[in-house]
Assembly symmetry: C2
Homo-oligomer: 487 residues x 2
């Protein structure tokens, strides 16, 4: 089967928002016991971000250039990350409730910004109604088959005992759904559809590989597509994912294999091992451009082009230390990697705050509040670089929909090209700490005398000569060269 | 202040429904693990009644003659009685969810039947979102001030330890709200209003005296009345309730003092002590008509007439053994008491199933499934008696809105009268097991030669003679005599 993936994702640049930490509106009533905005993040404390706060910063996001938002969970949950779902039918009251999501969808769509939510369907929380019913009623519960119960009474809050029910990673707070139960299946499929009907543009699926049941995901896709045939379904799987990416289940995965390759090449040996270790990105691959080429080409070979075109390519998320922190504060590594991300096929995803240089180690420190309150702390050069690269990607179809080919990969140097309809873009990277000259081989890409220039810099024009583009690359730099806009 | 109470309640005959046990529709999807319909009730098992089942039996209720339903709780709850609220904004999915309530309100209103819900605002449940948040996040919870927390971690599910938080009657399953918190007050008032806006006609308040704060209830009344000035607010208080019945808080209480007087007089010494003891009706008062007269007159003297006119007068509820069971199966006691109830000022409330002679001891046995599945078990004579009495009450304004006076009370014999606009009704009771003649003194009530008859029996006509009505009362019987319809 030829996979069909949503066309709009080919043109999307995502921005990932962790709702408790992005922006806090004074118009949303809040409970009293909140941590201060910008406090060092803790496992349990709330800082009170909300969806109206997001609406209030849509201008900022539009200036940044993104046109899609992926939200980590927003449903009612007794955890600041909201992965412990208490109610799948309610947006958390602290975020502004269902009405805030309705407004957000409306205002985002008015700006042609899409909205993707996080679907946590593998497990619920101890307070989730049907699990709570078993807690309260034991064997008399009406909902025994909703979970995997091994004994009574449930050991749900007794830290001395292991949970006597199926729980994600054995964590008592996260009872695993029995997705073999017809009721549970209908419930979860219904939730999938319910929010599509409310106007969202897709689902990011949390640990979906743990629902080891292809028929579940096939029906999930059918239900979601019945509501919106262009909805995007992207799974959180950190490893190769061919099983689910044949066109009948999901459109894409969060491309952590891409992340891992970028860590190896753009950070290289300077990587902060302590911060990398808690993730599946550890150990990073071998450094150097050759390894990177192999990793990227292998990855592209795993999936059909229709899948690669909509993969969610990320350099940061709430589940890993921020890229700059992984690089021990070497911002150049992040700039290089971002240049690659934004000139590579698939949908780039920017983790909120990365664009202004926010730092943060592994959970919970990677979830700091966006520093609206400390504009002096923003890395404005980095922000402008993001704006430039996003703007370029959106201006040049070849960067979004063009072919991809690595033209050169040796030592610290890499060059690749994107081509579409007579438009050619070449991107070169020098990951070394010293100056390099590079002759990028252009055979089969562009004829001699083809003019390239750095976008926006007409004086930088140069021609292909003797089958190559000859470029100078200062230490830790990248260069984008493009044929001028056709016409 | 002159109390203003809803006019419609003066004409109301309530039917109290325990939703898990009244009627089960095949159209509402149900979880698997339900007890059989009609099984001996247990503390924890569900039998799967729902609100669509109620709609499907509105014909029955209309034939019975009632014109208002008071539902014990219907919001999402992990208990078959649903007093442990998990979510105040959702009708329990097993009952059909919010849409079922919407349909029910619409269809009931189309038949001029009012709908009153049970508001459990003193305490929530362990799975209620904000309490769950404290369970999950401890001192970092955003909602610490929603409850009365005395230590961490919470001992909520450890049966060995007492709860270290305020809980109703010390029951860990029922954390008491901190109604001193502005957030909690707004939340509860908001719930009060939210369902009024959804079309309900009033609130029965669960243990409202335990929210020891008149300002809370005054504002509750304002919020509810802002949505519907004719909404009925009736508190569950088993004792004298003048504090709340001055016109600024509630309209009425569940009149268990009335119940208690009826137990003493109509059941008398034959009362089942074992079944009475678990309730605040124990010990029953002294038997005999004189005691009954004193009890009733004392009760009427406690409140303004506008309050007495809308008191919720009940002979049964989910919180006491069924009246017939209290009477050790002496149906005559229940028939006599029902005749009094339906000829007395205030709104009679019939506990579902009592009208067909359903038996049942104290919780949980008083919550048996309505025997739709066993029509042969119905006491049809009793049902017809209910239909006759309700029909009479609805036909004769004096029974609903007339003055009330006890004309005779001595030994086992009692007579009272209701008068309005030239209409006079006299009701006489013989609680003895032998035949009695009674001369009911009519001075100041009706002149000599005034004709009375048993409603619907013109041949029973008799006249007031020498200032009295002379009646024959078979053992354990009552007699209703009325002036013919004016015009």
């Amino acid at each position: 089967m030829q996979p069909q993936t949503p066309d709009w994702v080919r043109d999307a640049v995502f921005y990932q928002i962790f709702p408790d930490r992005f922006a806090r509106s004074v118009t949303v009533p809040k409970p009293k016991h909140l941590d201060e905005w910008g406090a060092t993040p803790t496992y349990h404390g709330y800082q009170g971000g909300d969806l109206i706060g997001v609406i209030e910063h849509l201008d900022y996001l539009q200036d940044l250039g993104i046109n899609a938002i992926y939200f980590t969970p927003i449903f009612q949950s007794a955890s600041n990350h909201r992965y412990h779902t208490h109610d799948y039918e309610k947006v958390d009251p602290m975020l502004g409730g269902n009405s805030a999501l309705g407004r957000l969808i409306e205002e985002a769509h008015a700006r042609r910004i899409r909205v993707v939510l996080d679907g946590v369907f593998n497990h619920a929380s101890r307070g989730f109604f049907q699990f709570h019913d078993i807690m309260e009623n034991g064997q008399n519960s009406a909902y025994l088959d909703w979970f995997h119960i091994n004994g009574f009474p449930l050991n749900a809050y007794d830290a001395e005992k292991k949970p006597n029910y199926g729980a994600w990673w054995g964590l008592p707070a996260l009872p695993k759904f029995n997705t073999g139960s017809p009721e549970v299946r209908e419930f979860l499929w219904g939730i999938g559809r319910r929010w599509i009907d409310a106007g969202i543009d897709g689902w990011r699926l949390d640990v979906p590989n743990e629902i080891d049941d292809d028929s579940f995901w096939r029906e999930f896709r059918r239900r979601v597509h019945a509501g919106n045939p262009e909805a995007y379904i992207v799974g959180e799987v950190w490893t190769d994912s061919q099983r689910w990416l044949q066109g009948d289940m999901w459109d894409a995965v969060m491309n952590y294999q891409f992340t891992k390759a970028c860590v190896a090449y753009f950070i290289g040996e300077k990587v902060n091992e302590k911060e990398l270790r808690p993730t599946a990105l550890h150990p990073a691959g071998a450094p150097g451009a050759e390894s990177f080429k192999r990793a990227i080409e292998r990855l592209l070979g795993l999936y059909a082009p229709e899948i690669n075109a909509v993969m969610l390519n990320l350099l940061g998320s709430h589940d890993m230390a921020r890229f700059v922190t992984l690089a021990n504060d070497d911002v150049s590594a992040f700039r290089l990697a971002t240049t690659f991300q934004l000139t590579y096929p698939g949908a780039p995803s920017i983790y909120y705050g990365d664009e202004v240089g926010l730092r943060g180690g592994h959970d919970p420190f990677n979830r700091g509040a966006f520093p609206w309150h400390r504009p002096e702390a923003w890395d404005r050069d980095l922000l402008h670089e993001f704006q430039r690269l996003i703007s370029l990607r959106r201006a040049r179809p070849a960067l979004r929909r063009g072919s991809f080919k690595i033209l050169h990969a040796a030592g610290d140097l890499l060059a690749h090209t994107r081509q579409l309809d007579g438009e050619t873009i070449v991107v070169a990277f020098n990951a070394a700490t010293r100056h390099h000259k590079l002759s990028i081989p252009m055979q089969g890409v562009a004829d001699d005398d083809t003019v390239f220039e750095e976008p926006g810099k007409p004086r930088s024009a140069q021609k292909v000569q003797a089958g190559a583009l000859h470029v100078e690359l200062p230490p830790r730099s990248s260069l984008i060269l493009a044929t001028p806009f056709p016409g």
